[in-house]
């Protein structure tokens, strides 16, 4: 006997097409279906918020955008993309972005973990010290930029005066190398506490019995740090690295306030060039191409991190 119906739920008969679909799950179902209907409002909302602007951005990257009389696109084919790929100034900005990323995130990780390990050993007044350490993180980046600018101002800046007092007569924001260092340090000052905070959370999860066992076995502090503590908190550090990396690629505020990309383009990282192209030159088609390049890089970075997290079983 050939069975034409199935009775998987309480003896109710299923329609023939449903049965066919169960037999061949690759066959597409027609209509939205109940789950589709449930998802529809959220999908429409998401489309309004991000998918339509994203598609618009793609369209803009192949066009020249006119503003007057209502924004309009004029098809330009691959012009903007060809320009982006051959623009030496843009590639210089990418190089600055990479350098900036390595310096800031690298220093933040080194100092942040160091401070966290030191703080973890503090038993009395840790709360107070931690509050003080975390303070910079709660200042708006624009304010950090303004503070930094005033502190290194060549006319009345406190740090500049200190440098002059010890015979170093420089304007920190006036030369490419010192300006780069200055803005990188401002970022490090603001965001190192975040790494400290996340690392501290990780440190509190290290199994004390393992540490005791290591101590009993006579392991030195350095050995304990590198062979027990760091491997135990590596997952947490990876998350901290991910968070800061995503931020570093989009870095904008402090540089805009302090150097605006100068001197000699030394601090003009890609977000600044994107902003300048879009909102100073109003070359929105080219800016869209740069923006999509940034998006691609960010997605690639995120994929690398997700893969790493996945390998450690943290992405689920």
């Amino acid at each position: 006997m050939t069975q034409t119906t199935a009775q998987p739920t309480g003896g109710q008969e299923l329609a023939p097409e449903r049965v066919q679909q169960m037999k061949d799950p690759r066959r597409p179902r027609r209509g939205l279906g109940f789950p589709g209907l449930l998802m529809a409002p959220a999908v429409i909302f998401m489309a309004g918020l991000s998918i339509i602007p994203f598609l618009t951005l793609i369209g803009m990257s192949f066009s020249r955008v006119r503003l007057l009389g209502g924004a309009a696109l004029e098809w330009r084919g691959l012009d903007n993309w060809a320009r982006a790929l051959t623009d030496p100034n843009l590639w210089t900005s990418w190089a600055s972005t990479v350098l900036y990323f390595v310096v800031t995130v690298g220093l933040e990780l080194l100092i942040g973990v160091g401070v966290a390990v030191a703080l973890h050993r503090v038993l009395r007044g840790r709360g107070l010290v931690l509050s003080l350490v975390l303070l910079p993180m709660f200042v708006a980046p624009v304010i950090v930029g303004l503070l930094g600018r005033y502190l290194v101002d060549p006319t009345f800046g406190l740090y500049t005066n200190w440098l002059q007092a010890v015979g170093i007569d420089i304007d920190p924001l006036g030369s490419p190398v010192t300006a780069f260092i200055a803005v990188a340090l401002m970022d490090v000052w603001e965001w190192t506490p975040l790494i400290t905070l996340i690392t501290l959370a990780g440190l509190s999860g290290v199994n004390p019995s393992i540490l005791e066992a290591a101590a009993l076995d006579g392991a030195s502090r350095t050995r304990t740090l590198f062979h027990i503590i760091f491997p135990s908190i590596s997952n947490v550090l990876l998350v901290a690295f991910l968070i800061r990396s995503m931020d570093a690629v989009r870095y904008f505020d402090i540089i805009t306030i302090t150097t605006n990309g100068g001197p000699a383009d030394a601090t003009k990282i890609v977000p600044l060039r994107l902003y300048e192209t879009a909102f100073r030159f109003f070359d929105l088609g080219y800016a869209a191409a740069i923006g999509l390049m940034m998006l691609a890089v960010t997605i690639a970075m995120a994929k690398v991190f997700v893969r790493l997290l996945d390998r450690k079983g943290l992405a689920q």
Binding site: P28, R29, G31, L32, G33, P35, G36, M39, I51, I52, L55, T56, I58, G59, M60, F62, S63, R64, V65, R66, L67, L68, G69, G70, A71, A72, L73, E74, W75, D153, P154, T155, F156, D169, I170, D171, P172, L173, G174, S175, P176, A179, T259, N260, G261, G262, P263, A264, D265, A266, E276, F279, R280, F281, F282, D283
Partner: protein, 484 residues
């Protein structure tokens, strides 16, 4: 519903196709005509739009600070409410461009920087002759002829001289600002050492200016340096350098000063690779080399602060810094036209006008004109000059002819900005005033200029290579053309 990758891609392609056709973006604005201004039915012309509220978007400049502090007379005269949005210039340009693109008119009166707003978006501004020549509006006192002609052309027109898109509103111009007390104290010795008359003025050459600065560095301890420059990678660097460029006979484009006065969409080939331009760049590099160490990170505010704090003996800066100087160093700062180079003396003009968004319609359009008329009137300009909130200097000749204004050119002065009066009379002469190119793509050219100069000042490239590279870059930018 299962969304396969294929269907997602298909939907994306359809969406992108629609966008490429301008469908969705086109919906962002409309090209419809603004509503007509209501007919005048008699009565007081100043009060015909009473009860209307308009928005004025302005750069945070001295005249706007003065007007914002004293709007009551306008409201009493017209019954119109004015909301003022004060912004830094680049933020203003963004908002104006996006407002014009929207097809709406969030901002009715616009501070129309000639290079960043007027040139690229003149098609989005109303031609003010529609009001100047019309009945039913109070007359423009003194007519257009009362405005300083060069300033009217530079700040109010673009390509077509018959259309007036803005009325001159402010007129900052770069002049030589120096510590009179230091020149008095050390002038004789300086003259003996250097072998020429050191009195600041256009009789001096840029080379002599350099030597005076160097002399201050070597012999005067009251200041950190003889000169400060505004050489940050910023618009200020282009402004500062342009004085030297024009003095040495250099030009940005083949069209020369006409491009600055009338404006052009196609200014021709860049002349920045000329020998004159290269000489100017070489001199400027030498000058910054002996300037206050902070010069490379100063814009005009930075150099203004340094002057006010007594760190430098002289600088080139906008003349409207005079009132601040007088407050910080009363009686100690004097003013002169800039030195001359092989070709001429040149004073960079940075004035702007105010105009009306072309999208403004109905009573707001008429009210906007009444505000533009009032804000640029001789009475308002005189009030601005005396304002405690700052105030600029007038753009009308009739104001300069007033006895109280002329008296203020000497100390003690009730109107400290007028201490620059005799200098400005020279600086605004047709053969002296320096006008940067009024082209729609100037923002990008400007950025290229100050970026490449910044690289030169950082020692990354030589002056000749800098100017060669700049000329090529500017030609590329101009070749892309402009469509607003």
């Amino acid at each position: 519903m299962t969304l396969s990758r294929r269907s997602l891609l298909r939907a994306g392609a359809l969406g992108a196709g629609a966008l490429a056709g301008g469908g969705l973006l086109g919906a962002c604005g409309s090209g419809s005509q603004p509503a007509p201004v209501p007919e005048f039915t008699g009565g007081d012309e100043w009060r015909r739009f009473a009860g209307t509220t308009i928005n004025f978007i302005s750069e945070n400049t001295a005249p706007t600070a003065a007007i914002a502090a004293n709007l009551q007379p306008f409201t009493e005269l017209t019954g119109i409410n004015v909301r003022i949005v004060n912004l830094e210039l680049s933020a203003l340009v963004q908002r104006v461009a996006l407002d014009l693109a929207s097809g709406q008119s969030q901002y009715h009166v616009i501070y129309a920087d000639p290079y960043q707003v007027l040139a690229p978006y003149s098609a989005g501004l109303a031609d003010l002759r529609e009001f100047i020549d019309a009945d039913g509006y109070p007359p423009l006192e003194g007519g257009l002829e009362d405005f300083i002609p060069t300033q009217l052309a530079a700040t109010g027109t673009f390509e077509d001289p018959d259309k007036v898109f803005a009325l001159p509103y402010d007129c900052p111009t770069m002049i030589w600002q120096y510590r009179q007390d230091l020149f008095d104290a050390h002038g004789d010795r300086m003259r003996d050492d250097l072998g020429f008359d050191v009195t600041p003025g256009m009789e001096r050459t840029w080379e002599e200016f350099f030597q005076i600065a160097q002399w201050f560095n070597a012999h005067v301890d009251e200041v950190v340096a003889g000169v400060g420059t505004q050489s940050k990678q910023h618009d200020s660097l282009m402004c500062d350098f342009s004085n030297v460029l024009w003095s040495y006979g250099g030009e940005y484009f083949e069209g020369g000063s006409e491009i600055g006065l009338r404006g052009a969409t196609d200014p021709g080939r860049s002349l920045l690779a000329s020998d004159e331009a290269k000489e100017a760049a070489a001199f400027y590099q030498r000058l910054v080399g002996i300037a206050h160490p902070g010069s490379r990170s100063w814009d005009w505010d930075g150099v203004g602060n340094a002057m006010a704090q007594g760190q430098i003996a002289m600088c080139v800066n906008w003349h409207e810094f005079a009132s601040g100087n007088e407050e910080s160093l009363p009686g100690q700062v004097s003013y002169a036209p800039l030195p001359h180079g092989p070709a001429r003396s040149s004073a960079h003009f940075g004035g702007c006008g105010i105009g009306i968004s072309g999208n403004t319609g109905g009573a707001e359009r008429g009210a906007a004109w009444l505000f533009v008329n009032w804000a640029t009137s001789p009475q308002t300009q005189l009030a601005n000059l005396a304002s405690a909130a700052g105030g600029g200097t007038p753009t009308r000749t009739s104001v300069y002819e007033l006895p109280e204004v002329q008296a203020a050119e000497q100390r003690p002065s009730e109107l400290p900005n007028m201490l620059t009066g005799p200098t400005m009379e020279v600086a605004w002469r047709d053969d002296v005033i320096g006008l940067r190119p009024k082209i729609p793509m100037w923002n990008e050219c400007d950025t290229a200029v100050f970026t490449e100069l910044s690289k030169m000042l950082a020692g990354q490239q030589q002056p000749a290579a800098t100017m060669d590279g700049l000329a090529r870059r500017i030609d590329q930018i101009v070749a892309r053309g402009w469509q607003a």
